[in-house]
């Protein structure tokens, strides 16, 4: 990253971005990193049951992509969804409470880490089925086109899901109907334990865009500006009715597929090499070198986010576990099954 204040050079062109936007992106990345780190600790402590898939290392993708979106735009997410939800404006308190399985959580304790949604903010849900978000994103894009709005939907997914039939079906449908969908592939190099070179015969997922006659680009997913710019162009196209795009962001997850994964499949030195490309210090450096934030301001913001995470943790901790009757609610809008003799 280089360039003078507010004018970041991207491939010869100048990326326009305000100080306020830069600070907001930095704040988002910190929120994700610190939320995930706390989730990691609380999972280890036994406060969080089930599976937790952490986003640490990939923060620039959700942040750069969602910085282009309005509150009424949509996203679909994945099993590794906390970052996307935070970047789209999800509330940390309700998220942490959901991870803890509490009644105040986003899903009232019935979904957990993999199923957080907030329709009021266009968050159509994390998803436990790999590749399921593709089709749902196409549905959201269809709804925007049908209603004649200029809303868009960003569909986040990993490299692993690009081998599901849903990837093909949704890219094809979005393309023929020119739907306002931005397919953002977070290529972190692994589908669970299987490396990309063992799960597909291409290195750049973006080449698949050719098959659907849509633009496809690959960017450094640890460079928040690169993500911001590429997704920004795709969002602008989509808002103008010019159809979908595929943006591949090369990145890396620092943790295993899920917490508890011993990551025996990773070559030695791979993680360390990627840690050197940590997106957060890269942005910090830019902010300081360009006099957008001082070191003190950065320290203060870090402390503010620590406090937010502490508050979310406390909110989750102090919240009640769900009442048993609530297990019978929300199956339908109208029918509540009575508890039956078993």
């Amino acid at each position: 990253m280089c360039g003078s204040k507010n004018k970041i050079m991207m491939g010869g062109s100048i990326l326009k971005i305000t100080d306020a936007q830069l600070k907001s992106m930095y704040l988002t990345m910190l929120k994700i990193r610190k939320f995930e780190t706390r989730a990691m600790d609380k999972f280890a402590e036994g406060k969080i049951p089930g599976f937790v898939h952490l986003y640490i290392g990939e923060e620039a993708v959700a942040t750069g992509a969602c910085a282009n979106l309005r509150e009424d735009d949509y996203i679909t997410s994945t099993h590794r969804g906390h970052g996307h939800i935070i970047a789209k404006g999800g509330e940390l308190n309700y998220m942490m409470a959901e991870l803890f399985g509490k009644e105040t959580g986003y899903g009232r304790g019935k979904g957990g880490s993999m199923h957080i949604a907030d329709a009021s903010k266009g968050i159509l849900g994390a998803n436990g089925i790999v590749g399921a978000g593709h089709n749902i994103a196409v549905g959201a894009g269809f709804a925007a086109q049908y209603k004649g709005t200029d809303q868009v939907c960003v569909c986040f997914f990993g490299d692993g899901s690009t081998n599901q039939s849903t990837f093909h079906e949704s890219m094809n449908l979005a393309s023929i109907w020119k739907l306002p969908v931005i397919f953002v592939c977070e290529n972190n190099g692994y589908g669970i334990s299987v490396s990309q070179k063992r799960h597909q015969a291409i290195t750049d997922v973006s080449v698949r865009a050719t098959a659907y006659n849509m633009p496809g680009v690959t960017v450094d997913g640890n460079d928040v500006f690169a993500v911001y710019e590429a997704v920004g162009e795709a969002v602008a196209r989509a808002r103008k009715g010019q159809g979908p795009s595929l943006i591949e962001c090369k990145t890396y997850r620092w943790r295993g597929h899920f917490e508890g994964d011993p990551t025996v499949y990773r070559p030695e030195g791979e993680l360390e090499a990627w840690k050197k490309k940590d997106p957060i210090p890269r942005l910090e450096k830019y902010l300081m070198e360009n006099d957008i934030m001082t070191e003190d301001e950065i320290k203060t913001l870090n402390a503010d986010v620590d406090k937010m995470i502490d508050d979310a943790n406390e909110f989750a901790d102090k919240s009640k576990i769900p009442a048993l009757e609530s297990a019978l609610e929300d199956v339908y809008t109208d029918i509540v099954e009575e508890g039956r003799v078993r």
Binding site: Y74, T76, G105, Y106, G107, R108, G109, K110, G111, G112, H115, I116, A117, D118, A119, S120, L124, G125, N127, G128, I129, A132, H134, N135, I136, A137, V138, G139, A140, G141, F142, A143, A144, Y146, K147, C153, S165, T166, E169, S170, N172, L173, I176, E329, D330, V331, Y332, T333, D334, I335, E337
Partner: protein
């Protein structure tokens, strides 16, 4: 009164809601100019245009998935799969997405979707185009399932299904599309979860739905000749289903035969039988009998298919075995 076909009943239900509510639309394979594989959407493309009567690629997963996404964003999609058998290809989107998103998000997402699934044998379509798979769907919490047998119910249940804020599986029987039945000049809504007593009787309760309603009625005529007065109940809704009408009838007749076209193994009829056994056992003075297809894939040759599918004679035999 006037006459209307089953297909017209379905179509008129969709048309009425599409005329009332701009957020209702239909999409699926060949539903546009072609009018649908069985002609159910015939003429709707010309009336409503490509925006609201839309052909899709042959991508069942995308059809259901798009229905889920668009419903989450405020539309009321009607998705047609050409044959119920193809539900296998869209099953994740029905079972793991449509049925569960509301629950897992604590009610944050509402999915008013209708999924139309033509099912059943009788047309020599062989094993991949003839199945009756309702048990797979009635098994899943989060879905409602209806199955009309005539034009009046096809219309009335379609209105209810579209107006419902939950995913509703609307099963159609492909041998019934051209059948005509009498309907009121002013068609009425049929609420979900209400059965219809097609024939009152005192000696045995035949619980059925779909095409087998007609086989059951025919069987009841034969049974009458032997002095057995059968009551025939058309469930119409498989979930929720009308437990009160069933229990009331069993309390009167004390004998039950449950008929569907499913293979008997793991069939939805087993659910009805077990609920009667659990909650109404002492009202029964004979075993609960079920009639269904043989436990095979549906064969192609007409004689084999007729042998495998249940008919009115099978129902007569089942009823008589209780006396």
């Amino acid at each position: 009164m006037k006459k209307m076909t089953y297909a017209e009943g379905i179509r008129e239900g969709m048309r009425k809601k599409m005329l009332e509510d701009p957020n209702v639309f239909i999409f699926g394979e060949d539903v546009g100019k072609f009018g649908g594989c069985f002609g159910v959407t015939m003429g709707m493309f010309d009336e409503f245009g490509d925006k609201r009567v839309r052909d899709t690629p042959i991508s069942e997963g995308a059809i259901i998935g798009t229905a889920v996404g668009s419903a989450a964003c405020g539309l009321r999609p009607i998705a047609e799969l050409m044959f119920m058998d193809f539900v296998t290809v869209g099953m994740d989107q029905i079972v793991n997405q449509a049925a569960k998103l509301r629950y897992m998000t604590g009610g944050k997402i509402t999915l008013p979707i209708v999924i139309r699934l033509p099912e059943g044998g009788g047309v020599s379509a062989a094993a991949q185009h003839s199945q009756s798979l309702e048990a797979w769907l009635t098994h899943v919490p989060g879905l409602k399932v209806v199955y009309p047998s005539n034009a009046r119910d096809a219309y009335g249940l379609m209105i209810s299904a579209i107006e419902d804020d939950n995913p509703v599986i609307y099963i159609e029987n492909k041998t019934l599309y051209a059948t005509k039945s009498e309907v009121e000049d002013e068609l009425k809504i049929v609420p979900l979860g209400k059965a219809s007593v097609k024939k009152e009787g005192t000696d045995v309760t035949i619980i059925t739905y779909g095409r087998q309603v007609f086989n059951s009625l025919k069987a009841s005529e034969d049974l009458a000749k032997d002095g057995i007065n059968a009551e025939v109940i058309d469930l119409r809704s498989l979930y929720p289903f009308d437990i009160e009408t069933i229990f009331k009838s069993v309390g009167k007749t004390h004998k039950v035969v449950i008929v569907s076209e499913e293979v008997k193994r793991g069939a939805f009829t087993g659910e009805i039988a077990s609920i009667i056994a659990e909650e109404c056992f002492y009202e029964c003075d004979a075993p609960i009998k079920r009639v269904g297809s043989l436990n095979t894939p549906i064969p192609f040759a007409s004689n084999l298919e007729n042998y495998v599918l249940p008919n009115d004679r099978d129902i007569v035999i089942a009823v008589k075995s209780l006396f």
